[in-house]
Symmetry: C2
Subunit: 508 residues, 2 copies
């Protein structure tokens, strides 16, 4: 069977991923090392994600604000004193002017900064400095803020949406009077991420705690949501950190408690980024391109008039215009439906396949015969082909389509989630009890998925030994699922009594 993309998932998953991004006009190389251009269809999906996640962040009591892009080097010096494994690959601004020299532009040596500025890789330090100004008494706590921002991490190998030098994200930062409150916050935001991923992006995830070696530098505990891509690899799609007093020590966030004593605040941070779009592609895409869940689709329904440069065209356009207007008056998922009339001057078949590759949930084609019969031809992107392999384009009455559109969108959202959920659940092997079986599980299959194994939660050197062995097998520890059954056996790595179950898999 022929498909719309030049390469299938089976043939070359990595090449397929790039093909989806390119054929769906989601993003492209920018000519700037490690940075991508996010084109309107990709950015439109991000805007939808932003809106839905932002609503949830605000509904849980957080307010948005904005901190500087640049962070003075001295802030990182303070951080480095408190944080082991502090990352150093960052973009550094050293000059503030260009001059012309021998016909070229160069940084002006006269305009060298006294203190270099770092382009934020994340904002714990500069936001912590803000908290230290805002917080004096227990009455000022909790502080619950979030910002939507661009951040830069100098990555050696980049991949669109998954790992880019600059990326877009939200970073929440909070300060609390007690460990309990800060832990509640950390887990609350993990749950916000889980429900957002599953309900809005139809992305089933496993929420759990990261093992010690995968913690954010400086964190006391790191939690994540992990999604399974169609090649069986894991993608960390969001993290929530309990930071204890690491950053409040470094940035001096102190408050007077109700007893009149000075205490360090307990802080948290949590983030979700444009990486989520990479997850959406690798979970929902197929060999014809992207499939966007309706809740995050920039356009949920696209109406394509089949014009022939004849007198009939105007009647078709009018008919399509009315249809799009009727659809836009509907509400789905408690928001207005987003329907587009695609009037661009191009062949209808090209437009159809363009929207298929972009993954618009419903594509409606209207030709002269449809207008005459009061009908439309409907393609559902989640079930593109009939059993005989032909495109499943169904003719139904226009009025019936308007009547069914909302239910159809809800059904597509549900179907995409159900598919992905079945794949996730079906590809976690929880039966492996020894290290040889673990090894052969991942050696023996192209798409081995993940293994959920019991372990003794080793720390320090003992953990390092496990991590090194896994590395040799190209495996990583993902997280300890919050909803996993209690341990009742032996550690698959050490043979000691197990204390919990941890997910093992390949990862992005």
């Amino acid at each position: 069977m022929k498909h719309a993309l030049p390469v299938t998932r089976e043939q070359d998953f990595a090449a397929w991923y790039q093909a989806v991004i390119s054929e769906a006009d989601m993003a492209e190389e920018s000519g700037v090392r490690g940075c991508m251009v996010i084109r309107p269809w990709g950015y439109g999906i991000w805007e939808r994600m932003q809106k839905l996640l932002d609503d949830r962040i605000k509904a849980t009591g957080h307010e948005n604000c904005y901190f500087p892009l640049f962070i003075p080097l001295s802030y990182f010096e303070k951080e480095a004193e408190h944080v082991d494994g502090f990352a150093k690959e960052m973009a550094v601004v050293t000059h503030h002017r260009l001059i012309q020299k021998d016909g070229r532009l160069v940084p002006d040596p006269e305009a060298k900064l006294e203190e270099p500025l770092v382009v934020r890789p994340t904002s714990e330090t500069v936001i912590g400095a803000g908290f230290s100004r805002w917080v004096q008494s227990w009455r000022d706590l909790p502080v619950l803020i979030n910002q939507w921002a661009n951040v830069v991490r100098w990555e050696m190998r980049t991949r669109m949406f998954l790992r880019t030098a600059e990326f877009l994200w939200q970073e929440g930062h909070t300060a609390h009077a007690t460990v309990d409150e800060a832990m509640d916050e950390t887990l609350k935001m993990l749950e916000v991420y889980r429900s957002f991923a599953e309900e809005c992006i139809a992305l089933p995830v496993v929420a759990g705690e990261k093992p010690e070696n995968e913690r954010f530098p400086g964190a006391v505990a790191t939690y994540s949501i992990e999604a399974m891509m169609q090649d069986g690899k894991a993608l960390q799609a969001g993290t929530s950190h309990f930071l204890g007093t690491t950053f409040s020590s470094a940035q001096n966030i102190r408050f007077q408690n109700a007893e009149g004593q000075q205490e360090l605040a307990q802080t948290t941070s949590w983030g979700v980024s444009t990486r989520m779009i990479g997850g959406l592609i690798m979970v929902h895409g197929d060999d014809d391109g992207l499939r966007v869940p309706p809740r995050v689709a920039p356009y949920q329904i696209v109406v394509v008039p089949m014009l022939r440069d004849t007198d009939e065209d105007q009647a078709i356009l009018d008919y399509c215009g009315e249809l799009a207007a009727s659809l836009n008056e509907l509400d789905a998922f408690r928001e207005p439906v987003r329907a587009l009339l695609d009037k661009r001057p191009a062949k209808a078949a090209n437009k159809r396949w363009g929207w298929v590759k972009k993954g618009a949930p419903i594509v409606i084609e209207v030709g002269g015969r449809d207008v005459a019969g009061g009908n439309v031809s409907v393609i559902r992107r989640d079930r593109l082909y009939r059993e005989d392999g032909k495109l499943d384009s169904q003719i139904i009455a226009k009025a019936a389509l308007v009547e069914q559109a909302v239910a159809m969108l809800e059904d597509i959202q549900t179907a995409l989630f159900a598919d992905a959920k079945a794949r996730l659940d079906g590809n976690i092997d929880a039966t492996i009890t020894d290290i040889d079986a673990l090894k052969s599980h991942f050696k023996g299959s192209d798409k081995p998925g993940w293994a959920l194994v019991q372990w003794s939660k080793p720390t320090g050197d003992a953990l390092d030994k496990v991590v090194q062995w896994l590395k040799g097998e190209k495996l990583t520890l993902r997280n300890v699922p919050l909803d996993a059954a209690e341990a009742d056996g032996l550690c698959v790595f050490t043979g000691d009594k197990a204390v919990e179950r941890v997910l093992v898999g390949r990862s992005y």
Copy 2:
């Protein structure tokens, strides 16, 4: 009469401006040179502006996307070849790693970039490079895009919201096949800005064309909206540029026209920034703090329960909770009303004055007596005091408040605009016909406002002479209003026959 701010507009307008920002918790110094922290109340206003302007940008056919923060130096070299007066104060990234040296963090000499990267001051070059990839044929035109982004310009003297090294904005960029289409676009977006400023921010503005010396470097024509602050100075609140082929030459944006020939595209760009918040403050603020027009207020109505740590408190809270819920079910300006129940543990009077200083349009206080009587006490921020100088807090029935709330919000929006519009119109002197009168007009008054004078539109050296004279008087040319009457006299500067009327004033 005592006011909530420590300084009045009359006493010291600049100090008053800073006091509003500080007392309303809108923004603060960040500790990073020239960069501010935008706190939730300030950022909430920006989010409201974003939403309302973004709707208008999309409604006029533009799509959002995202281009890189970093622009390679070579792009600016190409620009410098095409653009006179190209600005050079920019933040330059030269290294991509930090290392520890003698106990300090320093940029790693081993990690010096081969080609320095500039932090975008604006994105014509990098977006132009994108357009050159996207545009091959006339069928690919127009390209109509916009991005919401942070940009950096190394300013020597900074002032919160008005001029900061980093600021937030939207920048629209478009490419067209013909000069006419590009000019239509330039003026269309100017009109979008005008209607957005006037309808949403209640900010009356004068839309017009900037004189040659005030053009964006590389532009063929620059248009602006100019707002009048309460000290009579002008604030340029938004600009729209027709760029001709300047950037399409530099970035090679070519298309094959319908006749099969290669042509350079005609481009435009247009932007509005967080500067608009500075304008909002200086137009609507008073000696008690900010007054936020309801359409851009993060909270339009704030309900303050007057608690006394007694058994009555719960009944007051319940009553307030119901009230806030009823208000939030209403729609004003075709959006849900934004009402907040302020439950923070602080004295009611402090909370009241806090919201007055923040400029929430309506503040409602509820005490035990109000609950007993089924009433609320209402303060309208746009008319805070009675004629006798006392706070104008009116007791009305709760049900009546809910019934009147939407009309009250609409009335406040209208009243703030009407006040500002009367001030703008009343402070433009169109009667000045000679240069001595112009000079004495601005020397003779503390708040001279603007002068609308006839001029001969000199260019080159002749214009420079005018500009230098104005500079000596601390004056600038603002714009040539689109709706000004035709010239019918002599140029106030040169004595030649006038061709149009231009606004002159002090400015930010």
